[in-house]
Symmetry: C2
Subunit: 206 residues, 2 copies
DNA sequence: GTTTGTGAAACGATTCACAGCT
DNA sequence: AGCTGTGAATCGTTTCACAAAC
């Protein structure tokens, strides 16, 4: 089951969302073709993606909606909730703290850190912004599964090193830098300016 | 020059950032290997990426930093500034309006629209939030090159249809939906919950 | 001696097509 | 008859390796 492409994992997340919609409508089974058309892919792609993890369908019938949704949650590691620490209490951090999509999907932001004395001590969504200097002490009290990095570029790598030291194995990074981490730590970087540049490339090359 | 992979375009954006750093340090030439190590790729990848657009280097020497940066700006369509309209004045929109990275890279947010009467008329970063009902009238006065969509999921497709009607050719979408647009319109969707799910997949499968 | 530019080879992902189950 | 599961074929991307330029 090893070595599944990231593109496959992303599609599995999409399939899960569609399955949850079907579930809400009380639809009991769904074919690969139906899932495919909702996600602008092909039925063969859907079947191949699922086949990496087992065979969940019935030939001639399709896939049982609730069972497949459950299996996808298992595969994606969504049967548990995650404790998420946010590093940086700027604008983007503020938006993410209030973003319902995270909590809805099982990701609970349980701590916010910043280095700015003007921010430390303030309340955000019921959470007190903590001094980044107390990161190690906080971790001792309250383990954290994932970190969301929303610091300025130059603070990102040093704070990442501290997080790695503390045993964090997953980082969602919004700082526009390439973070260096050990092999057993997974980083996903979201670079918003870069997304806009792929759009301007597309506009310029038509 | 047609049909360059999106992965290639993303790397070109990264190379440009590194070149700008080198430029700031007054470095005159750079080798493919030096660019590669900054972006965690390989020198062959760098050379192949650039070769889609021409030959910019000197054998034995490397690439002239300012010239290559200029060519990349041209290729990426960054020699002009873009007028960006933001649709939705929620938390994420607020963060993006103040995000300096956009303006720095040539993307100017020039209008903000929302449907909530409590928000319409407020000032954000010097911009008045406009009634979404005046979208068409605003466009007549002030053309917009790109739209940033930060609406609730159910509003995303209808407003996209209106934007397409108005001639918008590029949309950066933060709503968790698959937008349907004509072939000549380019959409880039950023789905934050999905990014977290690729992390939880990685944690669950080790 | 160093580093580019690029065909060719290797690798990886998607699509095809069909046998096998329901 | 309908739809899955999956090898085989196809397509696309990355890496290799080396001749050509400096």
């Amino acid at each position: 089951m090893r070595k599944v492409a990231e593109s496959t994992v992303r599609r599995l997340s999409l399939y899960l969302r569609f399955l949850e919609e079907f579930e809400g409508q009380g639809i009991a089974t769904v074919s690969s073709g139906a899932l495919a058309s909702r996600g602008s892919t092909t039925s063969a792609q859907v079947r191949k993606d699922l086949s990496f993890f087992g065979s969940f369908g019935k030939r001639g019938l399709g896939y049982p909606v609730p069972e497949l949704a459950g299996r996808l949650r298992e595969i994606l590691g969504l049967k548990q909730r995650y404790q998420v620490g946010m590093i940086g209490a700027g604008k983007i951090g503020g938006a993410l703290v209030q973003y319902r999509g995270f909590r809805q999907r099982g990701f609970d932001i349980v701590a916010i850190f910043d280095s700015d004395p003007a921010k430390i001590g303030r309340q955000w969504n019921g959470l007190t912004i903590l001094d980044i200097d107390t990161l190690e002490a906080e971790f001792a009290r309250r383990p954290i599964d994932m970190a969301v990095l929303v610091t300025p570029a130059d603070a990102a790598q040093p704070v990442t090193d501290r997080l790695v030291q503390l045993g964090v194995k997953a980082v969602l990074n919004f700082a526009p830098v390439q973070l260096v981490v050990p092999d057993d730590v997974v980083v996903k970087t979201v670079n918003l300016a870069l997304e806009l540049e792929t759009l301007s490339y597309a506009l310029a090359n038509r």
